[in-house]
Structure formats: structure tokens, C-alpha cells
């Protein structure tokens, strides 16, 4: 190729059009685009190649930089989210600053979205031309080093949070766990058995809880909530509200005499799922960690009427541990990374009125049944009807309540089939004569030992009915149905409507995102999807990181998950954090805003624009300044500055204007304005 007179400051751009096997080349005339690009005035060399991301493809770039003196590089291939880093590194190896590179996305945004070869080729030219026009204005940038504070915040003390915290603490790093409830343990602490092994849930969980409580590297903050998070990867400042327990943790020995002596009981809606009672001063369950009880201020007679103080009278510690004057405490500390393991809620079964929950006494939720079969629960493990006397002779278990349903949640809640099978097994075990009906849409049992567990249930004599339950009613049509609950379901395997009279119905509701997950995602400045689950960085290749650097997710807050998956994800998040801590310093993309202080008029418009409060105003000089460490590079201030003196590195006005010109190469007016 002949030497060219270069109009833009002697820039020599190398353009590489990738075939991506046939992914791009099948639709886009890659050779044609390369030939066309070679004629662009700033372009020194343009080539097409089978796989640009291969080491041979990268070598091409390296060699051309060295031999042909390229100053800028454009690769037209896949999304920059796939390979921008690969090619930046290749440029660096060739001796260029990595930011002297631009990528044109002609696969995801072009060849994969159409069969129209002419249109796809035209679009590929537009995207390539845009990248060429843009790249000539690229400036060398240096990544920003950021030091990583070795402390980590884990939000949520369920099994995912416990798993993450223990991994980090055992690796020698300090962890703060913040848990909203008085004890860690989460939903797993409420369960009786875990499928498919039928391990006692508490027996395998409580040792881990004790480890957390006693670990020298873990600061456990229960009955606490994160109120504010400021800062950025490596340097977050956390503000936590530690709610008043009205029990002094320094003096309390956890003997439990106060709980015994408290004369008032209330229904326990949280831990016992409304099926049992607890005292007004309480520990959610006997193995709670930490062991200190909490006074339920809203129901405490002392707080309501100013009299009682039974707990204080009987407290044997010296000085007395009960402190009615205790107030909420605000704690502030520094962490480098955050792992969110905030868990899930269960779908409110009252939203499906035809299933009769709340109107028909013997319709139960899965969580109520979990507490009922738990030996430590309100019935001491006996399966009984709502009268708490009679045992049911027949039980129907309704799968997919609120999941796989256009009207509620479209997703499969993943664990309900397995726990419904577990319920069937537990009923057979405790009530050998009872008939058990499992009404399912499809039986979903992927997992180690899960299908085997299903086969076991098939042999135990459970009646499996394939069909979605239409409704549950007590309106009998024949004498055998009198006094029973009738489950109406179409048995799709025999193609017939059935009415099954039973004594008890258990609804298996979907796992859904926490009610306040949207607020939590905003607090931590990361995204959540339509269903309210937190969004991972990549659904397959990066399931624990989020779009926000330094914020990781684990467990059911990301999507429905069983215990082993939550444990693995917790450990995976911990490994990611440990990696960052071990690095000590990480390099951040230098995409940041800066203000030309000589030209700033001091109007302060940008000050309020910044979502991170990264812009300060110097009263003495009447100019604004961006604090680089806090800036996240969104560019909102750049677009807002009426004087046009804020520059967003790597997304400057000059770069974007040139990109617009390039992308419209085929429709642009020939000349600039003649008149005007």
C-alpha cells in the first residue's frame, strides 16, 4: 500500500476486519469492507483475518504496529465486552498505549441480527468508519491505581453469606457481617431436613453459625441494617444502623432466664411462620448466634404501658443486662469489597385466592409445614391439622404456586419440586397410612442425587398427578367429599378432570426476590432485573460479580437457588474478593471526567448533576473540580456543562462528534456549510 498524505496529524491507523469463522463472514463481505477501509485517508493498512482474537490475529496487530508504524488500531469484530481487553493488550505488546485502540462491533450488532448481506455490509462499513474517525482522536491514558482495603462487608447472614464470610475469614481477612434479623442462619435455620440427603438442616448449619460467632476475623452485627454505602472499589465507607436490642451484649451471658420469665407471648410471624408463639423478649431459635435476646419493643408491655420489667428483675448478671434506655447505634467502617447475600422471600400465596389460603384452615404454606415437621417447631414434629389435634389421613402437595405462571412469575423457582418431594417423604415417614398426592406441572429434579430421590418417592407410594391445580375448595358434591378439601386438577396423563378429597393441602410457593430488593440495589448502586433479582455481570461466565466494581452477589438474591448452589456461590464470591485483596492494588479504567479550571465559569450546574458527589466547588477560586478517585465516568456532567469545559476521558466531545461523522459516511452532506 502506498504512503498517504495524512490529514489528521500524521495518524496511521491499522484496521482489522474479523471473519469470526463464518459468524461475521457469512453475512458481511469482510474482504470488501477491508478493501474499502484501506482507502480511508487515515488508514495505513486494512486487513481481514479469520480469527482476530487468536494469537496469530493478535500477532498481526503487533507486527503492523512495529513494522508499519501504526499509531492507532481498529478491530471490527465482536462486542467490546468480549475482546476489548484482548486487543488493548495486543496494542500494548506492540508498543502502543492500550487506549489507542477502538473496536467496531460487527458481530453482535450486525452479522448476527440480519441475513441481508448488502445491509449488513453497509452497516459494517459504517461501524468501521465510525471507529476509524473516533480512534484518530484517542489520547493515551494511564489506568488509575486503586488500593484495596482488606476488610470485606457481607450483607445477609444466611447460608450464602455464612459461606462467603467463613471462606474469607479462614483465609485471614477481616469480615463484617450485617444481618437484619436478631440471629444469623437465614431460611436454612427454619428447615427441618434438606433434600435429597435428608440431613438435619440445623445439625449441619449450626456448627457453621458457631464458627461465624467465634471467629476472630469476623465482626458480627445482627439486628442491624446498612443505611449508606459511599466510595468505590477498594474504598467503601459503610454506615450501619445497629438497632437497639435493649440487652447489653457486654454483660449478657445468654442464660435465657429473661425469656423464661417474660409473661407475654406473641405469634411468631417470622421464624415460626405464624404457626407458633414466642415471648416478647426472645431469641428466634435456641441455637441462635449471637445468643443475646432481643426485646420486641412494639409488643413489650413496659414500652407500651411503662410497667412490668420482669426480664430486668430476674436478670442474674451483675451489672444487669437489660437496658431499656438503649438506643440505635450508628456505626461507620471502611471496607474494600461488598458481598450481597440478602436471600429471598416466599411468594405470598394469598395472591392466588382460588387456592384458599387464609380462608380454608387446612391449607398450609411450605414454610408452615417445614416448621411443623421440625422437631424443634411448634408441634414438636407432629403433622397436624390447624386444630393442632388431628393428624391428616390424606395430604395434597401443590407444586408451582406463583411460579411458571403467566399471571405471577414466569420463571421456574427451581427448588419447589425437590422440597415437595421431601414433604411427601416426611409424611410417609411420620404418617405411614396417609395418602399423599403431588400435583405437578413437570417434575424438575436436576442435581446430584435428586432424580434418585424422585425414584425413591415413586416407590414409596406417593400419587403423582401431572397437572396444574385449578382450585382448592370445601364445596362437596358427593358424600365422600363432605368435610374435606377438594383439589380440582386436570390429570393430563389420563386426560381427565379429577376432584381429590384430602384433609390437608400444602402449597409450594415460588422463591421471589426480597420485597425491598430494588431499594437495596439502589443503596449499593447496582442493578436488579424485572423480577427484583440482582443482576450478575455475565449470566454464564461471571455469575457472582455485578456491573459495579467491588460489589459481589451470592445466593438466592441472584435467582432461585438451593443450599449447595448458595454455598458454592458464596465461596466463589469470597474467592473473587480474596483475589482482589491479595493483589493489594488494582488498576481501574481511566474513564473519568476533568474540568478545565481556567475556563470553568463556576456556575455549579455540574455539582448537583454528579450522582457520586465527586465534584467539589472551590469557593476561593469560584471553580469546580472533579475528585478523580470518586468519579465513575458516567459523563453526565460533561453533557451538562454549559461552557463545554468538562472533558470525559475516552468519551470526549471530539471523539463522539467524529464517530457520528464516521457512522454517517454514506449519507453525509458533501461539504460543510458554504453560506451562514
Amino acid at each position: 500500500m502506498s504512503e498517504k498524505v495524512n490529514p489528521v496529524g500524521g495518524e496511521r491507523v491499522g484496521v482489522y476486519i474479523c471473519h469470526c469463522g463464518s459468524n461475521i463472514a457469512k453475512v458481511v463481505d469482510v474482504a470488501g469492507v477491508a478493501e474499502w477501509a484501506g482507502k480511508l485517508p487515515q488508514v495505513e493498512v486494512a486487513r481481514d483475518y479469520k480469527f482476530m482474537c487468536s494469537s496469530l490475529g493478535q500477532d498481526l496487530i503487533e507486527e503492523d504496529i512495529k513494522e508499519r508504524g501504526l499509531t492507532k488500531v481498529v478491530v471490527a469484530s465482536c462486542s467490546p465486552h468480549m475482546h476489548e481487553k484482548t486487543f488493548r493488550t495486543a496494542c500494548e505488546r506492540g508498543g502502543l498505549n492500550p487506549f489507542m485502540f477502538e473496536m467496531a462491533n460487527i458481530r453482535e450488532h450486525d452479522s448476527w441480527t440480519t441475513d441481508d448481506e448488502a445491509a449488513a455490509t453497509l452497516k459494517a462499513k459504517a461501524l468501521t468508519s465510525a471507529a476509524v474517525e473516533r480512534v484518530v482522536h484517542h489520547q493515551p491514558l494511564e489506568p488509575l491505581p486503586v488500593e484495596i482495603n482488606p476488610n470485606t462487608l457481607v450483607v445477609g447472614g444466611g447460608i450464602a453469606g455464612i459461606s462467603a464470610a467463613l471462606e474469607l475469614a479462614n483465609a485471614g481477612h477481616h469480615v463484617y457481617i450485617v444481618e437484619r434479623e436478631p440471629s444469623i442462619g437465614g431460611h436454612m435455620a427454619q428447615l427441618d431436613k434438606t433434600f435429597p440427603t435428608l440431613d438435619c438442616s440445623a445439625c449441619i448449619l449450626t456448627p457453621k453459625m458457631v464458627d461465624v460467632g467465634q471467629h476472630p476475623n469476623i465482626t458480627l452485627l445482627t439486628w442491624s441494617e446498612v443505611e449508606k454505602l459511599d466510595g468505590y472499589l477498594g474504598n467503601f465507607t459503610v454506615s450501619v444502623r445497629k438497632k437497639a436490642r435493649y440487652v447489653n451484649e457486654e454483660h449478657c451471658t445468654g442464660c435465657g432466664i429473661c425469656i423464661e420469665k417474660c409473661p407475654f407471648k406473641v405469634v411468631d410471624e417470622v421464624f415460626e411462620a405464624g404457626l407458633g408463639e414466642r415471648k416478647v423478649i426472645y431469641r428466634p431459635f435456641p441455637q441462635a448466634v449471637p445468643k443475646y435476646p432481643v426485646i420486641d419493643k412494639e409488643n413489650c408491655v413496659y414500652f407500651l404501658r411503662g410497667k412490668c420489667k420482669a426480664c430486668q428483675k430476674f436478670c442474674p448478671t451483675e451489672p444487669n443486662s437489660i437496658d431499656f434506655e438503649q438506643e440505635d447505634q450508628m456505626l461507620t467502617f471502611q471496607v474494600g469489597n461488598v458481598i450481597l447475600a440478602t436471600g429471598y422471600d416466599l411468594f405470598d400465596v394469598k395472591r392466588i385466592p382460588q387456592y384458599g389460603y387464609g380462608k380454608l384452615a387446612n391449607v398450609f404454606t411450605s414454610l408452615e409445614f417445614e416448621r411443623m415437621v421440625n422437631a424443634a417447631g411448634p408441634t414438636e414434629g407432629k403433622i397436624m391439622l390447624r386444630d393442632m389435634e388431628t393428624s391428616p389421613k390424606s395430604v395434597a402437595i401443590v407444586h408451582c404456586v406463583g411460579s411458571r405462571d403467566e399471571n405471577y412469575h414466569k420463571y421456574c423457582s427451581k427448588i419447589c419440586c425437590m422440597y415437595s418431594l421431601k414433604f411427601a417423604h416426611l409424611i410417609h415417614e411420620r404418617l405411614p397410612d396417609a395418602e399423599v398426592y403431588n400435583c405437578y406441572i413437570d417434575m424438575r429434579t436436576p442435581g446430584k442425587g435428586y432424580e434418585e430421590f424422585y425414584n425413591r418417592l415413586l416407590k414409596e407410594g406417593t400419587h403423582f398427578i401431572r397437572g396444574k391445580v385449578a382450585d382448592v375448595t370445601n364445596a362437596a358434591r358427593i358424600p365422600e367429599e363432605e368435610g374435606k378439601l377438594i383439589v380440582q386438577v386436570e390429570d393430563t396423563l389420563i386426560g381427565r378432570q379429577r376432584r381429590i378429597p384430602v384433609d390437608m393441602v400444602i402449597l409450594s410457593p415460588a422463591m421471589e426476590a426480597k420485597l425491598d430488593s430494588k431499594e437495596v440495589s439502589q443503596l449499593f448502586k447496582m442493578g436488579c432485573d424485572f423480577d427484583g433479582f440482582f443482576v450478575e455481570r455475565h449470566p454464564k461466565l461471571d455469575p457472582v460479580a455485578t456491573m459495579t466494581e467491588g460489589i459481589f452477589i451470592a445466593g438466592a438474591c441472584q435467582g432461585p437457588k438451593d443450599v449447595p448452589d448458595s454455598v458454592s456461590q458464596g465461596a466463589a464470591a469470597a474467592a473473587r474478593v480474596a483475589g482482589l485483596i491479595n493483589l493489594g492494588t488494582v488498576m481501574m479504567e481511566p474513564i473519568r471526567a476533568s474540568i478545565n479550571q481556567d475556563l470553568c465559569s463556576g456556575c455549579k450546574i455540574c455539582n448537583n448533576m454528579c450522582p457520586y458527589n465527586a465534584i467539589i466547588f472551590h469557593e476561593d477560586r469560584k471553580v469546580s473540580e472533579v475528585l478523580t478517585a470518586l468519579c465513575q465516568g458516567c459523563g453526565t456532567c460533561v453533557a451538562a456543562c454549559p461552557s463545554g469545559v468538562i472533558s470525559g476521558a475516552h468519551f470526549t466531545n471530539e471523539q463522539l462528534f467524529s464517530q457520528i461523522e464516521g457512522i454517517l459516511w454514506d449519507v453525509r452532506p458533501v461539504k460543510e456549510l458554504v453560506a451562514v
Binding site: P7, W36, K39, P41, S79, P80, H81, N105, R107, E108, H109, W112, T113, T114, D115, D116, A119, A120, L122, L127, A130, K518, S521, Q522, K525, M526, G527, C528, D529, F530, V535, M547, T548, P611, G633, C634, G635, T636, V638, A639, G648, F651, N653, L656, F657, Q659, I660, E661, G662, I663, L664, W665, D666, V667, R668, P669, V670, L673, A675, V676
Partner: protein, 157 residues
């Protein structure tokens, strides 16, 4: 047979939601109109109204600004700022005689490839129905602009 008018639409897609939605649409092989030419910005809040005017002046028939859904912005609320600017920009474009449908603001999260594709299809048809923008005639009254007859940039200068 008359040739169908193919509008050119410049899309400003935010890096975190709508650019990824477009990536996902591609990965899922969802076919949609090739008329939208995407430009990546870090946040829809970065879209300076000047970019839109520049694109229209340089020959685009329409401009799509795409951001995260309100409340889901990676930068807390940049998309809300984009929305505010968009409302002001629209009233200005109306005064210049540019039809409403030519500049659109849409929301698409990273998981909504299909929604982004549908919005591109819908907008392409709407702009196709409006016909070419012809900025120089419409806005400048034929004052100095000539429209290129597909002359590549390479032959310019």
C-alpha cells in the same frame, strides 16, 4: 417497482443496559432492522443534545437514545437526566420542524435484547413512514447544504 426508503438511524446506547441488550439480541440471533447504527456511551446521561443535532445535520433520518430503565441506572439516575434533556430537546426540535418520531428515547435493560430489537423495528418503520429528513431543506431552507449521492468519506477532502 419503487425502491423502499431505508432510513438511517443513529443509536446512542448506554454501556451497561442497552448496549448489552443489543449484544444479547445478537447473541440470541434475534433478527431486526439493520437501520440503527449504534454508538456506545457510558450512560444515556452522557448524551449531549448536541450529539443528536449533529447526527441529524450529518444525514441521519432519526436518532434513538437508549438507556437503562428508570431506577436501574448503573450511575444511579443518569437516565433520568437523559429524560429531562430529551423533553427539552423535543420541544426545540418541534420548533425546528423536525417530526416527533425522529428522535426517540427508549429503555432496555441488559436482559431485554428482544425488547430493544422490537423498539428498533418499530422506530425504523415509523421513520420510514416519515420519509427522509432532508435537514438542509427542512431546517436550513436549502441554505448551503448539498446531500451527497453516496460518496464515501474516502473521496472527500
Amino acid at each position: 417497482m419503487t425502491e423502499q426508503f431505508e432510513p438511517v438511524i443513529v443509536g446512542f446506547l448506554c454501556n451497561w443496559c442497552s448496549y448489552r441488550a443489543a449484544d444479547l439480541a445478537g447473541t440470541a440471533r434475534i433478527h431486526y432492522a439493520p437501520n440503527m447504527r449504534p454508538i456506545r456511551v457510558m450512560c444515556s446521561g452522557r448524551v449531549d443534545p448536541q450529539f443528536v443535532l449533529k447526527a441529524l445535520r450529518e444525514g441521519a433520518d432519526g436518532v434513538m437514545i437508549a438507556g437503562c430503565h428508570p431506577g436501574e441506572c448503573h450511575y444511579v439516575n443518569g437516565n433520568i437526566k437523559a429524560l429531562r434533556r430529551f423533553i427539552l430537546l423535543k420541544s426545540m426540535l418541534r420548533q425546528l420542524g423536525v417530526e416527533e418520531g425522529r428522535v426517540q428515547l427508549v429503555w432496555a435493560s441488559a436482559s431485554e435484547g428482544i425488547i430493544l430489537a422490537e423498539k428498533v423495528n418499530k422506530m425504523t418503520e415509523e421513520v420510514r413512514a416519515l420519509g427522509p429528513l432532508n435537514w438542509s431543506e427542512k431546517v436550513l431552507g436549502g441554505n448551503g447544504h448539498k446531500i451527497a449521492e453516496s460518496v464515501p468519506v474516502a473521496e472527500e477532502v
